[in-house]
Every structure is written in C-alpha cells, then in structure tokens.
Symmetry: C2
Subunit: 168 residues, 2 copies
DNA sequence: ATATATTTTCAATAAATTTTGAAAATTCAA
DNA sequence: TTGAATTTTCAAAATTTATTGAAAATATAT
C-alpha cells in the first residue's frame, strides 16, 4: 500500500471511528490529517486535502482547539495561520478524558445527586427501584471519576508516572 | 422533587448522555426507563411512557438486546412479551465495554496494523510521521485493549474480583 | 382451521445535524 | 488611512439519521 492510499484510509476510518465517540466526522478527519502532517498546515491545505469548505474547516478547527487537541501556530513571514496537532497519543488521550469528564461525567454526577434526594415512601417499589438505580450509577460514576482523575494527574506524579511508562 | 418529575428528568438526561457515547437517544431512554422499572414492562408500556411509536420501540429494544443490556421475559399467563434490564451497574458497564471493544477498538487495531506496513522511504518526513503516528496509536490502543480485557474478566478472578469490591 | 392478539418490517416522512458559500469582520502591510 | 489578504459568521441547502405507521408475518387461543 502506498502512502497516499494509507493516508486516505486512515483519515476516513478515524472519521468514522470519531462518530462512535460523540465527535463529528469532519472534526475527527481534520484531527487525523493533522496527526499525520509533520509540519503545521493552513486552512487552505485542509480544505484541499479533505475537499471541504472554508467555513467547515474554520468551525471544526475551532472546536479542536477548544478540545485542546490542536493549536494555532504563527510562522514568521507568513500571513496565513497554521495549525498543528499534539502528536503524543498519551497526551491526546489524557486531554480527551479530561474534557469529556468535565463536559459529561461531572454534570451527570451532579444531576444524579439531586435526583437521589427524592420525596416519597421508600417502601414503595417504584421509589425504591428509582433510588437504588440512581445511587448505583452515582456510586459507579463517582469511582470512575476518581480513577480518571488519577490517570489525568499521573504524569505529575513520579510513582504513577513511572508505572505508566509501561503502558506508553 | 416528586418521583414522576425525577423519572422524567432521569430518562431525558440519560438519553442526552447516551448520544455522547455513540448510542441513539431513544435507545438510551428506553434503557433508562427499564433501569428504574422494578418489574418487567411491555412494548405498550414503553410506547406510552416515552410517547414513541411501536416500530421505534421494537427496533430499539432489539438493539438493547443485541447489546446484552436487556432481555425478554415471558410471564406465565400473559400473552404479551415483557422486557427487563440488568440492574447491576457494574455488569452494565462491563457489557458495554465488551461490546464497544468488539465493535470499535478491535477493528481499528486491525486496520492500524495493516496501515503500519506501508511501502516507502522511512527517511521521507511524511512517511516517517505517518508510521510514527499509526504506531503510537496502535501501541496505545493495544494497551487499552489489555486493560479492558482485565476489567471484563475481573469478575471471574477472585483476586481482582475482591479488589474491585472496593469500587462496587 | 379460524379468528384474534402481538410482533416485526420497511418505505415514506420527519427531525436533527452537517456543510456550504458568500457577506461581514478582522488583520496587516504600505 | 486604504486596500488586499485572511478569517469568521450564519442563514440556507444538503445530507444523514431517526421515527412513524400500516401492512405483513408470526404466535396463540378457541
């Protein structure tokens, strides 16, 4: 297989993969393109390589920047803006976990603790099942939250850091 | 807050939450409804409680069954089919991990190992970045694969099982 | 066997999401 | 400043995805 084909296949698959993870297809494709580009590239490069409009590139690169996965690079002497992606996959994963935790897990846990304080007779079958379910999810979510915090902070901790070297 | 409101809010939020995880909104809502229902319920119950059509209920309950999160229950003397969801959140999470690994991670890893064997000069900057990126993702994915396998099998292992009791 | 209840399928429709592209805003050099 | 290059915005269009509902298939009781 040649580089051109392999690139195309990687970008396409990474895009499809992204949709399973709540990420928009184009955003994932732009990310894929940036991951395999050794040097920073411009909006026009992205438009051309992925055959998508300027507006689309603009919106999705902005989202990628919000996610902390991509950054703008200013190249001296160049008028245009350039974009580049973090290449260390561990950092990419950590960043995604951090963001999703903040955007999804934390708000859900907050909601669950509200729902747990429901008025009603605990003897009632429906009330009991509701409270038990909410409590179960909240407990599990709370543990997941802690585990993820440890992962996110692992790089800052020498012991965990060295433990994780085995995985890197 | 009263049970009725709390239920409605849980179902709605769980549905929205699901969309971030590659799961269809209605499927997640039906799952939520079943999680808080102490006894098995019918297609008609689901239709009524969520105000959705029969066909929609049918398709989504089937998907939930395919995911191994819901099962059909036959109640003696009843003509209709009943549905019930696994209530142990740890088992639910394990089952989701198992399915997503099979559906998403495993195929991606297979593709990546193909893409790594690209023809081309490793001295070329583009080739090098491509190979490095693919190798990095594959290595990370491979480790994730192992970690998830351990989690999935944890319940079958007395040592890990007792370790995990702390999280349950 | 026949009638009746129940479930399943799937083409048509509706809803949600993504993409476009041109106008407006911004940036920067001279 | 002015004007060209570049980026951003956003309403309209295109596309994708989800939902409906009625017909077909299946299951069950008499």
């Amino acid at each position: 297989m040649k580089l051109t084909d392999a690139k195309a296949q990687f970008i396409s698959s990474w895009g499809a993969f992204g949709t399973h993870w709540g990420i928009n297809r184009t955003m994932a494709q732009i990310h894929a393109l940036l991951l395999i580009s050794p040097d920073p590239i411009t909006q026009d490069d992205i438009m051309e390589q992925l055959s998508i409009s300027r507006g689309n590139v603009n919106m999705n690169t902005r989202d990628l920047i919000d996610w902390g996965l991509v950054e703008r690079v200013l190249i001296p002497g160049e008028r245009k803006e350039f974009f580049t992606a973090e290449k260390d996959i561990w950092k990419v994963a950590t960043q995604i976990i951090k963001e999703r935790k903040k955007r999804e897990l934390d708000p859900m846990l907050k909601l669950l603790s509200q729902l747990e304080q429901i008025e009603g007779d605990k003897k009632d079958k429906d009330v009991k099942q509701f409270v038990d379910t909410i409590a179960g999810i909240r407990k599990f979510g709370g543990q997941a939250d802690k585990v993820l915090d440890v992962m996110i902070k692992a790089d800052e901790n020498w012991f965990l850091g060295s433990l994780l070297k085995f995985f890197k």
